[in-house]
Point group: C2
Chain length 622, copies 2
């Protein structure tokens, strides 16, 4: 049995209440590794082709990596997977916090939830045991209320939770799963799947946990980060993820007013420094992490409490600049509501920004909005619509379907204003300044996604180039607005690496690099893992997820970008430029070819076999 | 400038005597690494399409890796590259010994020889300087004679040489380059190219050498091998490379009588143990190596002296079992003659075995052989024909063309008896028992080759499987006679790794493994190299060499195997089985696909670009 993992996967059928503890062999663990790998395996193997994402046939997988719960910074990460109600393809979201580590210490490596409960339930997992419990009284509660109720009912204030609030209960397509009140497994609508199963929460508590293969090796790196984090991640500690927001705006790369421009006149008001200077009351951490990049904020007049954390960069831009809102307190309020209701802040902000642009262009009227003056910059309107989305009330019912479906329903050209790929809303990175990442929006298996992507900044001289060298790539430093073969060479391997990152149970923000990651995997598992192996795992996942999507009818035709991305951005700066259609098409073809896929973007049998997942070739008939 | 290398490449034009010291930037060094990489670069960039391999336009490249000459076991390896007179494609051969290290210490990383000298010359390279010197008096000498003459002329008994003897002078197509009298850069006819340039020898002496980036790291591993070599390579020390010969025969895998069978009744007489018990007088080493796998033998009655070393496994089988010869002393004599004349023992044995079969089948007559009774097992005949080949005398003139050309000339079905791929003779590994390696014969850029290949034994449980795991491959232990997708997955990465091995200047036999190799590369160069990078280098080379061959008209149609390989082997044992045509075709297609080549076996533009050698795509018009 592999170290790092417990060797046990919990299966819960909510239709009939059956609970089983399953064991898989070492080959399974070393092929799929954890997180994304487990999600992909169970979805592909178990969810029938064409199944309704919100139907009982879908699986909801809570999955951990081999390092989740290890005594080292960054190991608080866990994953949720399901067929996505937004894209109809592979869905997944990662979150930090404490829930993942607690689940690991409770004795499981993953939970596979199937079926649908007849009435609201929650799952209580503790020290190798599991129990489905009634959640009728919890239904309708905010996440803070329900977490308190669960802890009280079970008599243990240290229980960790992964929950939905009213957003997930009401099947908002972009509802998320909230861990520990403030860590969101945000993307792909995982909370809607949870809601569709009548599953209010997973509560975990454990004092055991797996054996680590080489605790001393893990300790060595834990000491290194403790000694050096201010040098290597000091900015993240001081200012959190939104420390760089102001610079983005200066360079024309801060999504503003539904991606109409990249410069926001109120950027200063919503950047990490301003938050630190005003509403910040604490820097918090995830499990075992010394970085403490998480924010806790307090705004008495709006009832914003530290328990729900504070806005990350994505939230700051989505509910802020993208909605034209420069009111930090209102954004903090919006963030709290999203965490209380289990709404993805990215999609929520994106869809409200979309509605604002529709409103300003006359595609939505004051009648449609129920009297709300839904102009860009109207913070109250932003919050009001957010409330309506969670309850699917009025305009909220339309927007709760996500920007792609809402735009289709509105018609009259609204589809051109919908910033999404494959039905998933854009995160807060501007493809006309980060063009490699823009190509990534088209290609990601989960639609427009920032966790399955590259950061064009790593193409610059310095540590970024050193990393590129360590990949064996012979390419010069490249510009942001370059998506030629050199950039795409890096892109291909970098997304394989980030895909591996989604398997491992470690935070993407931590400065581990290649060598330390290899050693940490060895320290957890005892495997003679190499960087080559880890990259292969990432590559395996990317081809496997692609095959899954192909099976569901999602192919090269869906590797799109909104028309706006090929047009000049508002407030053009020397750093901004529209993507060029021809180069973008060539970039995608380059990726297909290097990944070993056909020119239609379908993984070849040989490639899937080489990656050890030949069964997926059978499944898609190549 | 990279550490490990000197940063200087010597260019010598023999037509006009011009000598230049060239410098290349770090990107060049990190892209091509050394050895094979340098060969490939200079051949592809400089030798015109369709150039005659024995004409002045061909380049002869002596190239070192970043570890050649480092103070550690295995670092004696160097490479010779040229367009091959046997295959008409990329040609290359590696050798151990001391010459490579001496050339490194003399201040160069490679020598690129171009043109053709008007009369015999040798090149004298010492401490950063080089000189073309007259070799008229040396021409016709055996390698021992000419080495002594050079040392005497230059007054330095510690000079190291890479030379040709009469075989190379007489343009025997499979002539080799002999380093230090007994280390052969054997394959691909590199000695014929040297002869065609009227270059008798390169003599090197140097007391400088490059700076090593991390001498302590190199020392750490040097100490490890010194402390542990009897555990990890004791067999190689005790019995040399022919220690396993007897077991091969027992399992039907010892090439015997021109690959008609795999069991040799006199195997016991020619195995490593017998050599150790009889004619062995010393265990010798290559530069800095503690293993001492090299043999020194003495047979007074045949004039066999230790200066020429002793037969390796390949020689033992080629001049021995493959010719039906069970006379160890005669094989030792043949080995000495090959080293004295600069003939590749593999090709020499193979072509004599071919002639023997032709003779027994009546395709060659006693008249053709000049009265020699060229039956299998006739040791004297083997030696007599060997002498004739070196001098291109009588039947020797025919056989000096190599087995493919000789067979074509003989006609009457002789081509079916010629064990070669792309014009290069089979080494002594039986494809009907090592089927992965058999597929490799078809696919190698240098034709039938064992240094660009896998050993099916590494597919077995134990350290082999651990290595496969470290490649990130999820495959079970596999049978020898399996060439399905799992085996080919391993094959693909393993040949990339062995291709990297041909760049690095380290012996393939040393037990360094992945981790230590990565550290050694770092210790030499100071680069933050990873296994991923090293595998990429190997992959880069395989696609680059393929592109080179495509440019010369060598394509999928040439990825052949002799018909015999698809027929039942003589003396069939449970372990032996013919290759199956359909599976073999599928195996090749699998390789093309995973390498990112078209189904015609042509590297795609995207793959070449991804590997950082997009210029090769331009060169072959893809």
């Amino acid at each position: 049995m592999p170290k790092g993992h417990n060797g046990k996967i919990l299966r819960v059928n909510l239709s009939n209440g059956r609970i089983a503890k399953e064991e898989y062999d070492e080959t399974f663990y070393r092929t799929y590794y954890g997180g994304r790998g487990f999600n992909a395996y169970f979805l592909f193997k178990e969810v029938p082709v064409g199944a309704d994402p919100m139907g009982p046939e879908n699986r909801l997988v809570f999955s951990l990596g081999p390092l989740t719960g290890a005594p080292i910074s960054g190991s608080g990460r866990s994953s949720v997977g399901a067929k996505s109600p937004l894209t109809g393809g592979y869905g997944e979201a990662e979150a930090g916090g404490f829930f993942g580590a607690e689940l690991k210490h409770a004795g499981f490596d993953a939970i596979v939830v199937e079926g649908k409960a007849a009435k609201p339930v929650y799952l209580w997992v503790h020290d190798g045991e599991a129990e489905v419990r009634d959640a009728s009284k919890l239904w309708g509660m905010n996440t803070l209320e329900s977490q308190e109720a669960i802890r009280s009912e079970l008599g243990d204030g240290r229980i960790r939770t992964a929950q939905i609030g009213p957003g997930g209960e009401n099947l908002v397509r972009f509802a998320c799963v909230i861990n520990d009140l403030k860590h969101a497994a945000g993307r792909c609508g995982m909370g809607a799947v949870m809601g569709s199963k009548n599953l209010k929460a997973v509560a975990a508590r454990g004092r055991g946990g797996p054996e680590w293969a080489d605790p001393e090796l893990i300790r060595k790196h834990a000491k290194w980060i403790a000694d050096n984090f201010m040098q290597v991640s000091g900015g993240m500690h001081n200012l959190g993820t939104s420390g760089g927001l102001i610079d983005l705006s200066k360079n024309g790369g801060l999504p503003t007013r539904n991606f109409q421009t990249g410069v926001f006149e109120h950027a200063e008001a919503i950047t990490g420094q301003t938050m630190a200077d005003t509403i910040l009351v604490g820097r918090e951490n995830c499990y075992a992490c010394v970085i403490r990049c998480k924010r806790a904020v307090k705004v008495d007049e709006l009832g914003v409490i530290p328990e729900y954390g504070g806005p990350e960069y994505e939230t700051m831009a989505a509910l802020g600049s993208d909605c034209g809102v420069g009111d930090l307190k209102a954004i903090a309020k919006g963030n709290q509501l999203c965490n209380a209701y289990s709404l993805d802040t990215i999609a929520t902000g994106n869809v409200i920004a979309f509605a604002m642009e529709c409103y300003e262009r006359g595609l939505l009227t004051r009648e449609d909005t129920g009297g709300i003056d839904l102009r860009f910059g109207n913070a109250e309107a932003m919050l009001a619509v957010l409330e309506k989305i969670a309850r699917r009330e009025g305009i909220g019912g339309l927007l709760a379907e996500g920007v792609a479906r809402a735009a289709k329903k509105i018609g009259k050209g609204a589809e051109e204003l919908a910033m999404h790929v494959k039905g998933q809303e854009f995160p807060m990175h501007e493809p006309r300044i980060k063009q490699g990442l823009g190509v990534g929006y088209s290609l990601s298996p989960t639609g427009a996604d920032h966790c399955h992507n590259i950061h064009d900044t790593t193409m610059r001289p310095g540590p970024g180039m050193d990393r590129i060298r360590a990949m064996g790539l012979n390419i010069p430093p490249l510009a942001f607005n370059d998506i030629g073969p050199d950039k795409m060479s890096y892109y291909t391997h970098a997304v394989n690496w980030s895909s591996f990152g989604n398997c491992i149970g470690m935070c993407l923000f931590l400065p581990w690099g290649f060598d330390r990651t290899v050693e940490l995997v060895r320290g957890a598992t005892g495997w003679n893992a190499t960087l080559f192996e880890l990259m292969k795992v990432g590559e395996r996942m990317n081809s496997l997820l692609r095959a899954y999507n192909v099976r569901e009818g999602i192919t090269a035709k869906d590797d799109t970008l909104p028309k706006r991305m090929f047009q000049q951005i508002g407030d053009p700066l020397p750093t901004t430029a529209p993507l060029k259609e021809k180069e973008w098409q060539a970039a995608k073809q380059f990726y297909y070819a290097v990944m070993g896929w056909s020119s239609d973007g379908v993984p070849t049998r040989a490639k899937l076999q080489e990656l050890g997942v030949g069964w997926a070739a059978d499944a898609i008939g190549v």
